[in-house]
Every structure is written in structure tokens, then in C-alpha cells.
């Protein structure tokens, strides 16, 4: 009977395996992903669906030339990570984030935003 239960379970589970890996816990950002803003923001903040581990979460922002424009270490508070920015001008910026939620799930991702002339 246990063997039969095991077989049924395996058939049930197999189609779903691997489906979660492509998803993240990203909930929203300020400036929003893909947005064009003006004036230039003073910080970038990202909200996640779960609380984050400050020691193993990071957030960097680079300009179109690949130079870092974030000013200092990212700060984590609950499910939000934010980093202050240097004075930035018009152009495109790429935000890279790598976070660990307190239930030990690691996720990473990136998005861009533009600062208008």
C-alpha cells in the first residue's frame, strides 16, 4: 500500500517540479522598474514579499557606463531594501539586487529606470 501511495505521489508531483525557480519575491520598487522619472531620485528602494536578511542582501545601482552611483551600503528594514544615490543626471540606470529572505530563500534580479532630461 505504501509503495502505491509513493507512486501516486511521484506522478502527482513530477509535473510541478522546477516551476518555482524562475520566480522571484520582488514586489515593487521606487523608482519603478522600467519607469522614466524626473527629478533624479535620491535613493532606490525595493519591496519584497518576505522579510529580508540584512547581512546577506545587497543592492547596487550603475549608470550606462557601468560605474556605481549608489552611495554606501544598502539598508534593510523588514521586507524593504534601500540604498542612497550619489547626485545623478539624465540617463539610464541599472539596479541589481540580490536578497536572502529570513526563511532562507535566495533570489536575485535587476531592472532599469531612466532619469529624463
Amino acid at each position: 500500500m505504501l509503495r502505491l501511495v509513493g507512486l501516486v505521489l511521484l506522478m502527482w508531483l513530477l509535473p510541478g517540479l522546477g516551476s518555482a525557480a524562475a520566480h522571484s519575491e520582488f514586489e515593487g520598487a521606487e523608482p519603478a522598474a522600467g519607469s522614466t522619472v524626473r527629478p533624479a531620485p535620491r535613493e532606490v528602494a525595493i519591496w519584497f514579499t518576505q522579510r529580508l536578511e540584512p547581512a546577506l542582501s545587497s543592492l547596487t545601482v550603475r549608470n550606462a557606463a557601468g560605474q556605481r552611483v549608489d552611495a554606501g551600503k544598502a539598508q534593510v528594514s523588514g521586507n524593504v531594501i534601500r540604498v542612497p544615490l550619489k547626485q545623478i543626471g539624465p540617463g539610464s540606470y541599472k539596479v541589481d539586487w540580490r536578497v536572502l529572505s529570513v526563511d532562507t530563500h535566495r533570489t536575485r534580479g535587476n531592472f532599469t529606470f531612466r532619469v529624463a532630461e
Binding site: 500500500m1 505504501l2 501511495v5 509513493g6 501516486v8 505521489l9 502527482w12 508531483l13 509535473p15 510541478g16 517540479l17 522546477g18 516551476s19 518555482a20 520566480h23 519575491e25 514579499t49 518576505q50 522579510r51 536578511e53 540584512p54 547581512a55 546577506l56 523588514g78 521586507n79 540580490r98 536572502l100 529572505s101 529570513v102 526563511d103 532562507t104 530563500h105 535566495r106
Partner: protein
């Protein structure tokens, strides 16, 4: 999903539940039942189960921490160690700090078990085992919940762990007690088997009610919709767990409604058959419980379903 991590988590959950279950059965079922039936019963076999389970809980807990150090840092283990990730994870992350506290609790439990011939030490061991099991909630999805639901989710998850331990962890000790009763072929032992089964049944009822209520709360917070239950890996694992739970519940109902009343007639052939069936069903329930722990081991390694479907 990481097969080794799932196996280690499942082993740790099962061993922790077994430790608490063996002591719960001893303190709340076996000792009172032996007193009621005037049987001078040895507690050694129950303490031995608790020792074995605690040893497995310590080993699997250590392996879990090692695997998480690699997983949380995103590096192979040797690189994670070389990069100084061990103290970072152990002292600066929720999982590491909770794991250290649970390790200390396990050591205290071991000391209490060492002095288990003293009643007070046995109760201390029981309290430590309950805390060790309930604190698993602080290592899972519940600890990541934000907002007003954070505390109810944690408390619900802790109660869920405790209820699972009280029920599933008591099954092997129950099977041992029933097998001993069959072996003794003595009316006093038959009475002991009946009283113990009744007491276990009451604990089982409370556990099942707690599991259903806290399970619904968990599902509402972590799954949230039928679509998420069907379309996600987390949802499918939960379905598997629910299927196993339903089978266990069916067996428990047969035991309580059909076989336990017949155990009262233990002097006749019907009583002997009831004793045999209860022993066998208890063993099958324990096997199904082990499969539930594998599902639980896997559930914690995947993202909660509610975060994976678009509202």
C-alpha cells in the same frame, strides 16, 4: 528542489517530532495508563526512543545548518567556509541564531534525559522537547511573513508542529506498548492497552483539530487561492501532504470508532484481534507520517505558492 536538503529537513522534522512524541506519550499516556491499570511498566524503551530520536535530530540539525550555509551564501560549501560565511550565517541571520538556540536546547534536553530517572528531570526533558519542536516554526516560511499576520502565522505554525509531534511522534511508542500488551497476555496489560489507546485517542483528536485549524491558517497565508494550490510546486506538495493526512485520518477514525471499543473486550478473541489491528494500523499510520515529513521537508525549500501567481 535540492534532494539532500529535503532529506535532511525531513529527517530533522521527523526526529524532533519523535523526540517530543516519545516523551509526550510517556508522560501523558503510558505512565498514567500504567498507574490506572496497576501495571509496573518499565519506561526504558520510551526513553530509548527519545534518546535515539534526539541523536538523529542533532545530527540532521547539524547537517541542515551546513547545507544552509552553502545555500544561503550561494557558494559551494568550501568557498563559503573560506569566505567566512560560517560566523555570518550563525550570528547574523535568523536561521543561524535560531539554530544555535535550538542546538543549546537539544543539549539541555540531553542532560535532562540523562537524569530521567528523576521525575522533575523527565518533565524538564518534555518541556525542552516541546520547545525544540515548536521552535521549528522560526526556521520556516512563517518567519518571513510581514505585517499583521506575522505573529499569528508564527504561533499557528508552532502549534502545527506541536500537534504533528503529539500525534505522529506518539505512534511508534503506542505500537510498542500494544505489542508489549500482546506479548504479556495478561488482563492487567490488556487494561493498560485499552486505557493507553483511549488516552492516545484523545490526544489524537486534539492534535487533528489543531492541525486542521492551523493548517487552514497556513494555507490561507501561503497559498491563498485554488489556482495557487493547483498551479504551483508548493501547492502540489501541499496537495500530496493533504492526501497523506486524509489517509492517516481515515485509519485513525477506524481505530477510534471500530477497534478501540472492541479492545474493552480484551479477554475474548475480538479483543485480541482489536489489539492486533490497532498495532498494525498504528505502524501503517507511522509510515504515512514519515511520508508527510518528506512532504514537509520539501515544502520549506520552495517559494510559497501565494507569491508565484498573479492576483
Amino acid at each position: 528542489m535540492d534532494g539532500l536538503l529535503i532529506f535532511v529537513r525531513a529527517a530533522h522534522f521527523a526526529a524532533t517530532a519523535q523526540t517530543a512524541g516519545a516523551l509526550a506519550f510517556l508522560m501523558l499516556v503510558a505512565v498514567p495508563a500504567a498507574r490506572a491499570a496497576s501495571v509496573g511498566m518499565s519506561v526504558t524503551s520510551y526513553l530509548r526512543i527519545a534518546w535515539l530520536a534526539l541523536g538523529l535530530a542533532l545530527l540532521s540539525g547539524l547537517a541542515w545548518v551546513v547545507l544552509e550555509i552553502a545555500a544561503m551564501s550561494g557558494l559551494p560549501l568550501d568557498e563559503a567556509i573560506a569566505d567566512g560565511m560560517v560566523p555570518v550565517v550563525l550570528t547574523r541571520t535568523n536561521f543561524g541564531i535560531v539554530s544555535c538556540a535550538r542546538g543549546a536546547l537539544a543539549v539541555l534536553l540531553g542532560v535532562a534525559l540523562w537524569f530521567a530517572h528523576v521525575d522533575a528531570a523527565r518533565w524538564l526533558a518534555f518541556v525542552c522537547a516541546v520547545a525544540l519542536l515548536g521552535s521549528l516554526a522560526w526556521t520556516g516560511h512563517a518567519v518571513g511573513t510581514v505585517g499583521a499576520l506575522a505573529l499569528p502565522h508564527l504561533i499557528g505554525d508552532a502549534l502545527h508542529c506541536l500537534a504533528a509531534g503529539a500525534w505522529v511522534g506518539s505512534l511508534i511508542p503506542l505500537v510498542l506498548l500494544l505489542a508489549a500488551a500482546r506479548h504479556h497476555d495478561d488482563p492487567q496489560w490488556d487494561k493498560l492497552a485499552y486505557v493507553a489507546t483511549r488516552r492516545f485517542s484523545t490526544i489524537g483528536l486534539i492534535s487533528v483539530a489543531t492541525l486542521i485549524i492551523t493548517g487552514l491558517l497556513n494555507a490561507w497565508i501561503l497559498v491563498g487561492s485554488l489556482e495557487a494550490l493547483v498551479a504551483t510546486e508548493h501547492g502540489r506538495l501541499l496537495q500530496a501532504k493533504l492526501g497523506l493526512f486524509a489517509l492517516m485520518l481515515g485509519l485513525a477514525a477506524v481505530n477510534r470508532l471500530h477497534w478501540t471499543p472492541r479492545l474493552a473486550q480484551a479477554a475474548g478473541p475480538l479483543g485480541a484481534q482489536a489489539l492486533r489491528q490497532l498495532t498494525r494500523n498504528g505502524a501503517v499510520e507511522a509510515g504515512l507520517g514519515a511520508a508527510v515529513f518528506i512532504a514537509v521537508g520539501a515544502l520549506g525549500t520552495v517559494h510559497p505558492a501565494i507569491h508565484l501567481v498573479t492576483p
